[in-house]
Amino acid sequence: MASTAQRLRRVALPAAGLTAALALTACSGGQAAPAATDGFDGVSLTVWNSIDFEPYQGLQKQYFESCAADLGITVDVETQSGDYTTKLLQAAGAKSLPDVALLSTDTQLPQLASQGVLADLGQYQITTDGLADSVAGLGTYQDTLYGLPVQVEDYAIFYNKAAFAAAGVSETAPKTFDDLVTLAGSLTTADQKGIVLPGIAGDGSTPVYFLPFLLSAGGDPADPTGAGSVAAVDLYKNLVANGSLSSEFVNWGWDSIDQWTSQKAALTVSGPWNLVDTSIPFEWGTFPFPTAKPGESSKVNLLGYVYGAAANSDAKKEAAAAALIKCRASEENQIDTAVQGGYIPALKTAQDAFVQKVPAAAPFVDAVDGAYNSAQLGTEWNTLQQQYVDAIQAATVGGQTAQAALEQASGK
């Protein structure tokens, strides 16, 4: 399954973040002068990917090699395993960055861009047309486009159709938090809880799935005691109080999805990788997130994967790299990756085509417009994450009110 190893590595190894943060080197590369060149004969480029499992790995090779053939250049596509961020930063310091590299927008893009080692893609007629503003923003740093987004990741609510049928509830999405609490309550039976969400500290899952609720309540993640945060924590509190969310959720992290797939819970939150998971033994659907008050629109957090080009003194090489990226980011490639790998495409047209093939992807796609770029919190997010988890736990199993829990957790 596509994201196996990615989830494996991303979720469980907190210290990987440390080495990433620590590998910052002082060197910075120079910016090459722009040059309009066509005809890239004889150019040979290296490409780095970090997602090292099938089918993604094979697909990337395919895309790049076919694009290279179109452009008349040769490419060497390498897949890096392990701490990719550290590798990139070390390569940047040694001035040996690959010509093209896959970058995640929450960590790798800002770090490399801030060191000036990436090429300005805007000079090469690469535009963010066809991308929603929120997606376009993912690839920019200080208003310059350094990475062209090819896929994004956001979240939606998944539900078990059989549970709805058994409870005689129609499959309509809950519009408000109160609706969600009622819905989850009506789906709760002796053997099945209404909803499962992660609540454990330290593995990163709890804040990721909590953010959409906070954002949909109009909250600002940087403001833990604001009204939106309180409403979101209160939601969790109410879900536990009416018995639809097991109090054991405080022990569950990414593995909380096990509760849903083994039909011990009817609803859960997950990412797009769940769309292509063929091992789910029942019929399921997706909903968008509810909002705190009726009539508002929900909002989710978004992170993206972009391809960036290394700043190169050889103008021809840099231009070739940009052209390669542009080709790689084509619509067909994005649809292909989405359907096979469970990533949401960046291009709006590709998204629509994806929804046609996988209708359950609709809430994911609809939420992309106006989504929140979680990278903008920077390193503050580490502290905030723990505060939110503490508050959620204190309000649910610790008996505190949401407001008090948030105030205590954030030290205000």
């Binding site: 196996t4 494996l8 190894l13 990433a20």
Partner: protein
């Protein structure tokens, strides 16, 4: 007790035998009672181990619906564990643990010997320092090692992990072996010295063979400390192929995919070498520990 008839030996023996036999039978029954008690205690105590084995053989179950008994056992969990992580992680753990044993013994044997022979206030100070060394919190050690190894290029290396893990074994090894060596017969050592053996020769030819139990004990503990380490593996490594088994088990258990059987399988696989080591060395360990702790 005999009756007052003229006792011929045989009649007396005949009457004595059933009595003795009865006593023996009672003792045997009482013995078996204790066996039953022990078996019950062990069964209850080791239930989690049974659970681990049973779960590892249920490849289709996830963490929520593991049955008490694997009704349709399968090795899918083991396949996944070895595929995803296992062989590499096992190799790293084995090499690092064996390396730690080597480093620990190389450092600790001469030191223990010296501390057992010297009569100086420095020895008391050394013992206090050893105790202090064991009290340094692992997070402090891990961060310092990170900084050191980062500058020396020892991150993601076997040497780095070996040296870091040896810190758990060395103080304990010195203390245990010293306690044992205190009891070595000074005459034998004296004789060897007079016979012309240099200091290393005395150590290698006389002291080490005599201290076999304590050395095996120290080695086994060094192996177990290193084998069970999680923190150094998490902080001093950031490349997939260099993660030891314990870190990979953590990753498997936290993953949001159906990896419960694989987690249990990996846990079992991770427990086997430790088990092998202790079974092979248990006689030495028991004797070494008694000698070492009865100071």
């Amino acid at each position: 007790m005999t009756n007052d008839r003229h006792p011929a030996h045989r009649p007396a023996a005949v009457t004595a035998e059933p009595a003795a036999a009865a006593v023996a039978a009672r003792r045997r029954r009482r013995g078996w009672t204790w066996t039953v008690v022990t078996v019950v205690v062990l069964a209850v105590y080791l239930f989690p181990v049974y659970w681990m084995i049973s779960a590892s053989l249920q490849p289709s179950a996830n963490s929520t619906d593991t049955a008490w008994f694997p009704t349709s056992p399968g090795l899918g969990g083991y396949e996944k564990a070895l595929d995803d992580a296992g062989i590499g992680g096992l190799r790293v753990s084995v090499l690092v643990s064996l390396g730690s044993v080597l480093v620990t013994l190389l450092v600790a044997i001469p030191a223990a010997y010296a501390l057992s022979r010297l009569r100086s206030r420095a020895v008391s100070i050394a013992l206090i320092l050893l105790l202090l060394a064991q009290m340094i919190p692992s997070v402090v050690l891990a961060t310092s090692f990170y900084a050191m190894f980062n500058s020396w290029g020892l991150l993601n290396t076997f040497i780095g992990l070996i040296l870091a893990n040896s810190t758990a074994g060395v103080p304990f090894a010195v203390i245990v072996m010293r306690a044992f060596m205190l009891r070595l017969d000074a005459e034998v050592i004296e004789a060897a010295t007079v016979d012309g053996l240099g200091p290393l020769g005395v150590l290698w030819r006389i002291v080490v063979p005599l201290s076999r139990n304590a050395i095996v004990t120290a080695g086994v503990f060094a192996f177990l400390f290193s084998w069970g380490d999680l923190l150094f593996g998490l902080t001093l490594v950031n490349r997939n192929e260099m993660y030891p088994m314990s870190v990979l088990i953590l990753a498997l258990s936290n993953s949001n995919l159906n990896t419960w059987a694989a987690t249990m399988a990996a846990s079992l696989i991770a427990s086997v070498p430790a088990l092998v080591v202790i079974l092979a060395a248990q006689r030495h360990v028991k004797e070494g520990l008694t000698a070492g702790s009865g100071r």
